[in-house]
């Protein structure tokens, strides 16, 4: 269960948000929305434990994630703005080594399956530098299929550069993950409908007035 | 602000920039006065009381600035690293600001030691610069200070600058004894007799007193200047807070 307690964030000279509170138990789709530059990515990075908040805590199963460190990260898959893809490695090599370095080594079958699910079959041995933006994004997203059991996904604009089919598949995947009792935190400016048992929304208003959290609906699936 | 929870309030209350600012303001004149007084006494001893040296004549008197400056340069580096470490571990902004405030004074002391070393070298050895062990170590120490200052200057985000500087200072502190030892070795092994313009002439007691008083004077000066610089840093870093705005509005920086 992901919990945020009195979270305050400042970047450079600006206060982005303060006193943010919410909980996201298993089965929650947490959507973070708002105009550009208001602090959505900063919030995600704080949730990941990459960025230290000015005050407040992020808790995973009751413990501060900054203290949990590796124990938190083994439960987390983060797909940020950048893909983490090396131009001079093939698609398969990229996915394999990313899994290894993340501490989740995967069998060749699993990797092949993940690449298949993102529609990159036939491209496994192509150098990533020859791929389109959308295809590189898929390599990053393939990590979600490799680590399907990770209880927490944090995704920053995952639908960027995907075509209509890709968007549909990804939203289905996210919905499935949430239905399985996991938590997904998502920043997206695209209002993609995703079916989830419990939806939580953090809305960033513009102009430095911070963020508010609300529960959209509790629904039975 | 950065006050911690009650149990530690005694110590951490002073860690608030707001509390420390007026306190520092009161301390600056006090230490300035002490510095001036001790400097007068020290210079008096240095120039009028201490006897002429048998081998080096009058030019040796620069030792009364050179040695205390060298001592302070090393001492200040340790203090700077200490406060930077405290700021990193306890996440107190004021400690980090203190480290940032110390660095320029430390660099100045190092530069002074090098400069006076050169002026000592000229009449004694005929050259402005000699690769003497202590001078070389001081030069390296100067680079360590400049590196710290340059790193903090290059980073826009103050908290990142604080923490990065702390890591650098700590790595530096661990290396300072290693560097010193290496340079000593290097100096003795490459020359038969150790070239040392900084080996003090056999010390008359008055000479020792002179150096100690001067060292104390430099210490008081450093405290005064560092606290003054710290106040400027506090004002700049905390400029968006209410209490600073209040001070500036009323036109009183006390």
């Amino acid at each position: 269960m992901l919990e945020v307690v009195e979270l305050t964030c400042e970047r450079g000279e600006r206060s982005l948000f303060s006193g943010l509170n919410f909980t996201a138990p298993g089965g929650t789709l947490l959507r973070i929305a708002g105009p550009n530059g208001t602090g959505k990515t900063s919030l995600l990075r704080i949730l990941c434990g990459l960025l230290e908040p000015v005050s407040g805590e992020v808790r995973w199963h009751g413990r501060n994630v900054r203290k949990l460190r590796e124990d938190y990260w083994k439960d987390l898959v983060y797909v940020g703005h950048m893909n983490g893809v090396k131009d001079d490695l093939t698609v398969r090599e990229n996915l394999r080594v990313n899994a290894e370095v993340a501490g989740r080594p995967a069998s060749p079958e699993r990797l092949a399956d993940a690449l298949d699910r993102v529609g990159l079959t036939g491209f496994e041995d192509r150098m990533a530098r020859f791929l389109s933006q959308g295809q590189r994004r898929r390599i990053a997203l393939a990590r979600l299929y490799v680590s399907e059991t990770a209880p927490l996904w944090i995704l920053d604009e995952p639908f960027t550069a995907l075509d209509v089919k890709g968007v549909a598949e990804l939203s289905a995947l996210i919905g499935q993950h949430v239905h399985n009792g996991n938590t997904v935190a998502l920043v997206t400016h695209q209002e993609v409908p995703i079916d989830a048992p419990r939806r939580q929304r953090v809305e960033f208003a513009g102009g430095g007035s911070g963020a508010t959290s609300s529960i959209e609906e509790e629904a039975t699936c | 602000m950065n006050t911690a929870a009650s149990p530690r309030i005694g110590l951490f209350w002073f860690a608030s920039p707001q509390t420390f600012f007026p306190l520092a303001g009161k301390m600056v004149p006090l230490f300035s006065l002490l510095a001036a007084g001790l400097l007068l006494v020290g210079l008096y001893i240095a120039f009028l009381v201490a006897p002429t040296d048998a081998t080096q004549g009058e030019s040796y008197r620069i030792i009364f600035i050179h040695v205390p400056a060298a001592w302070m340069s090393m001492f200040l580096y340790l203090v700077m690293a200490f406060w930077a470490a405290v700021g990193l571990v306890f996440n107190t902004r004021l400690s980090s600001m203190m480290a940032t405030a110390i660095a320029p004074t430390g660099a100045l002391m190092t530069f002074l030691a090098l400069w006076t070393g050169a002026f000592w070298g000229r009449p004694t050895w005929g050259a402005y610069w000699v690769w003497d062990a202590r001078l070389t170590s001081e030069l390296i120490l100067l680079f360590l200070y400049l590196g710290f200052i340059a790193l903090q200057a290059a980073i826009d985000d103050p908290r990142r600058a604080d923490k990065a500087g702390a890591v650098l200072a700590l790595v530096g502190v661990v290396n300072v004894p290693i560097i010193y030892f290496s340079v000593q070795w290097w100096n003795t092994l490459h020359q038969g007799a150790s070239v040392s313009i900084t080996r003090a002439p056999s010390m008359a007691t008055t000479m020792l007193w002179g150096m100690l008083v001067m060292a104390l004077a430099f210490w008081m000066y450093s405290i005064a200047v560092v606290l003054h610089r710290l106040r400027s840093i506090i004002l700049e870093r905390e400029r968006r807070t209410e209490w600073v705005r209040e001070l500036l509005r009323e036109g009183r920086i006390k």
Partner: protein, 222 residues
């Protein structure tokens, strides 16, 4: 745990092999500096023999500094670095892997190249051997300490010069004992102590610098 270390090394080696330019740049710079010195100083063999250890070592130092910018910059730019920071494996191990790969691609070729320089400067068999061993022990330390500088200056403007300023004072002990070892061998004096000391530096650096680098990376990526 060892697995992630090897995987990191493997990735970086694979990239280095495919992007040959970087490796060749470093090696080329090393060769250029060393060959320019006799041209600048004069061909007197005794003089060259005397300055050879220092020249080779300084050139190795400069080549190492030049290559530091690459250590984390690419990973930072393409998002690989932040994924490393979110690994469930210890970051210190990953960092050790990065430094090891860096050494394999810069320090090790330099060390091998120095055999040639032993000949070029007419150093004699034993002195050349000591030169090679000193570089073998010292260049990994340069990679490790350099990693601290590279991590602290990630993404900053004026990066290269700033990194050099930070890292040079810390390199000096390695330089002194590295070239000192060869100088001792050339003078017929016992050189074992120097090499042992370099070995001690290496152990010390391998254990301590990964912590500093990991901390610096987290600070820089915030």
């Amino acid at each position: 745990m060892l697995r992630v270390l090897l995987q990191v090394i493997r990735r970086d080696l694979l990239l280095a092999v495919r992007q040959k330019a970087d490796v060749l740049n470093t090696l080329f710079f090393f060769v250029v500096v060393v060959t320019m010195v006799p041209l600048g100083i004069g061909p007197e063999p005794n003089l060259l023999r005397a300055i050879a250890p220092g020249v080779v070592w300084v050139a190795a130092l400069l080549a190492a500094i030049l290559s530091l910018a690459r250590l984390f910059a690419n990973d930072y730019a393409d998002g690989t670095l932040e994924q490393m920071l979110l690994s469930s494996e210890p970051l210190t191990l990953i960092v050790l892997g990065k430094a090891a790969a860096h050494w394999l691609v810069t320090g090790l070729p330099l060390t091998v190249m120095s055999i040639v320089f032993g000949v070029v400067f007419d150093l004699g068999l034993q002195e050349t051997g000591v030169l090679v061993v000193s570089l073998l022990l010292g260049t990994p330390v340069l990679s490790l300490i350099g990693a601290v500088g590279a991590a602290l200056t990630l993404g900053l403007r004026g990066g290269g010069v700033l990194t050099s300023l930070l890292v040079l004072p810390l390199y000096i002990p390695v330089l002194i004992f590295g070239s000192g070892a060869v100088g001792a061998a050339a003078s017929g004096v016992a050189y074992a102590a120097y090499l042992l000391l370099l070995g001690a530096f290496l152990l010390f650096a391998s254990v301590l610098t990964p912590w500093a680098v990991a901390l610096a990376l987290r600070i820089s990526v915030e």
